[in-house]
């Protein structure tokens, strides 16, 4: 029987590393019996889903760069301060 520490470990990594069948079954059994880990599982799914959405939204903006005008403005601001 998995401990909660082990179960949360497998839940955390299973989207990135395929779990062996034995581990998957052990995890299923643990989740059936443990409300805390079921909640952890739910939260983990929400976090992953939200971050995926964040990533997808950000990809649309990956071309954004600091404008040359803003860059010169920053430079002159810094220069003004260092001259003091």
């Amino acid at each position: 029987m998995l401990t909660c520490k082990q179960a949360t470990f497998f839940i955390s990594i299973r989207n990135f590393q395929k779990l062996k069948l034995v581990k998957r079954l052990q995890l299923q059994l643990h989740l059936m019996a443990c409300t805390g880990c079921r909640a952890f599982n739910q939260q983990n799914r929400i976090i992953d889903k939200t971050l995926l959405e964040f990533h997808q939204n950000t990809q649309l903006q990956s071309e954004e760069e600091l404008s040359p005008e803003k860059k010169s403005y920053l430079k002159s601001t810094v220069n003004q301060h260092t001259k003091k």
Binding site: I47, F54, H55, E64, K71, H81
Partner: protein, 200 residues
Amino acid sequence: MTYNQKYPCNPDIWVDQYSEEFFRFAMYRVKNREVAEDLIQETFLSALNSLDNFRHDCPEKSWLYNILRNKIIDHFRKKTNQEIKRSSMNPEIDDDTFYYQFFKKEGKGADRWNENAIPKNMDISPDQLMERDEFMQFLLLCLSLLPEMWEKVFTLKNIEDLSTPEICKELNISSSNLWTMIHRAKLQLRNCLEKRWQNK
């Protein structure tokens, strides 16, 4: 201006050397050009004002990055109307101390949840757009409170979607280190989120 042989500090080159990278870093997290630009500006100005306090004990880029990260945390803190205690800011602790915040240390129930740390299902309906956006801000706040290395790992894996070997190579860590960091990050993240989201 005093210079340290090992870690010099040269504000004259800051904008040219670092502004674009800092902009991308900020932009990725706050997703708003004006906000990102403001944060970069505040970072440089803040650094200039505290130049006398810079002990030259690390590369100036790390020092500046730290200031920027704190400005980003501040941004999310204001957006989510949350307080941040100093103790929750990026603590680096060993594995045992970390895990036993959440799990029982010994005895019959060893490695099971501590009573006071058991997760509860979060009350969030992912379909409601406004709530989802607000939730995202909370998540980004909690992400920015993770120790730097964990945040890096988490971002590379979950957000930039690099493969395990790529991340391990980039950070010079083993895959088992990586999984441990993700486990710890998830435990901390969901704890931070649950507390702040339930109490908002």
